[in-house]
């Protein structure tokens, strides 16, 4: 794949929470920053998210977690990715995630965890950093 080909990002809303204002803003910001963005819509299962990530051969998975079930759901996503042998996808998470749960998510393989109010510029530069360090 050519270096000029845009990177592909999956933004997944896993869990029963229905608030997608942040996700909808983020996907547009990512598009404007030159990424190809696939959005799953709300109320998706970890299985749906992982399968989509594989079929679309994405470079990044961003999970949006707003219902408080982040520990369980993020763990399930990480588990499924491992089962499928997916190792080179950048994992990011964002949502109502308290500081004390961040180490757990990082241990699962999530490179960055963003809390509400994190400016998009922060997310974009973290993303850039992760992707360039993999090239």
């Amino acid at each position: 794949m050519n270096a000029h080909t845009p990177k592909r990002i999956l933004i997944g809303k896993v869990g029963l929470d229905g608030h997608d204002r942040g996700a909808k803003f983020l996907i547009r910001a990512l598009r404007d920053a030159g990424y190809e963005v696939i959005y799953t819509g709300i109320r998706r299962t970890p299985e749906q998210i992982v399968r989509t990530a594989i079929d679309e051969d994405v470079d990044v998975i961003g999970l949006s977690l707003l219902s408080g079930a982040h520990n369980e759901l993020a763990a399930r996503v990480a588990e499924l990715l491992k089962e499928e042998g997916v190792e080179d996808v950048v994992l990011l998470a964002g949502g109502t995630i308290p500081e004390k749960d961040v180490p757990h998510l990082e241990a699962l393989g999530f490179r960055h965890v963003f809390t509400p109010g994190a400016p998009v510029s922060e997310i974009l530069s973290a993303l850039e950093q992760e992707l360039s360090s993999r090239e």
Partner: protein
Amino acid sequence: MEARSKMAESLQKRFEQWKARTLEPAIAKVPECADRTATVSGVPTERLYLPEGHGNEAAEAYLAAQGFPGEYPFTRGVQPTMYRSRFWTMRQYAGFGDAEETNERYRFLLDHGQTGLSVAFDLPTQIGYDSDHALATGEVGKVGVAIDTLADMEILFDSIPLEKVSTSMTINSPASVLLAMYIAVGEKQGVEAGRLTGTIQNDMLKEYIARGTYIFPPGPSLRLTTNIFAYAAEHLPRFNTISVSGYHIREAGSTAAQEVGFTLADGIAYIDAALSAGLDVDQFAPRMSFFFGAMTDLLEEVAKFRAARRLWARIVKERFGAKDPRSWMLRFHTQTCGATLTARQVDNNVVRVAIQALAAVLGGTQSLHTNSRDEALGLPTEQAVQLALRTQQLIAHESGVAHTVDPLAGSYCIEKLTDQVEAEAAAYIEKIEEMGGMVRAIERHYPQNEIERSSYRYQQQIEREERIIVGVNRYAAEVDTQPEILTVSAAATRRQIDRLSQVRRRRDESAVSRTLTTLEAAARGDTNLMPLIVDAVRAYASVGEICDALRRVFGEYEEHTM
């Protein structure tokens, strides 16, 4: 109150009329409180400030646009004495974990001066899944209390006398089921349904527009909604069966005018639905209540609430021809907007909430929930909840704004903003009417798209620092202290699932399947489903089982927009 020599003659005359026909009866019923009649310095506060030194023409304009509190068009408030007689209901939304923990929190709040209960349910309950459902993994008890069967509801209201306490339940798709459970709990306490007071949110249209906890498609949802209306008209005369919500629309990023416009358009759709179900507008509009958010731009918010009252009064009176003045009154609950709370420098949130609460009070809200400072990060701790409640109490007792009705009226700014918000909201309503009403507009994604555009614009402004959020894009600290966050114990989830199994073991299975079969069959026809849901609930059928029976008939709604 003495007559004012400088008031225009026509205004003076109408003022006397208002006093005689609206004010005096109200005071006779609920007298004003002695401690709300003066400023802290001892200057007497007038009940109602009116324009002075203007001619009759100006007076006529005032009367048409604002009038008197407690009288059409209710711009200045739905009661003549507002908070001089009784403060707004201080109603803090609570619920987490299982029914026992929540029951404890309720008793704490009631003991500490809260005057009504507000129930938050967890997502599985809101979406009609039992706690042991696959999709409930990790979600049980997280954003609210988990209720699977009547047994949970009984624990939730243990030692809480339903004939004394008013309960507001934030429940929509399975509102019929939870309402049925509330009725059944009342029965067990010996309180007959007619004496129960409270509200169910029961506003499905905003779920499709902004909140996302829908189960069934719009048609069947509206059928259930009107079933509840009809049932309550007969059996629950003191219960508010709908809280038409603008809060979530605002939280999703709408403007103030959109919040009012889309919410009132939803209200119109509900009245239309009720009418087509054979109800009379005066039979059910008086029981409609509304729910708005309070943002931090205080001036616009006060104007927004006044505009909403005036616009709704006009709609219900002129468009629907309602005769009962109580049909014309827009009564509302307010919650300070959670979307404004930041995860960084959480103490700033205390100040935000105080400003927002003040806006709601100056705007004439009937009840108010103030958010806790740590709400951006998870469920609030007891200390944070207490401070949020104190915020309301401070405004009530120490700020003096409760000592007069609609204090900001007459401000050039407020009156202009009120007119502007009303005009813009009315334009939205007309646009939606042209599309054939709100259900059609939702199918075409009109309100969703409008909200998304506003939301995007707002976010862009923040990203570009054209709009400052203190502590986030300016005045951010290098090191941020993290508050203590409440977590839900895994043990609570385990307990919930165990209790559900226990209930299933103990109940009469044949009664359950009988009631569910009857319900499913009736759902295919068009009879009122409420009595059948009450039957199922009494037999300890679960929320998931009842909703699954309905899913088999109605199908599930799939969101089709990005």
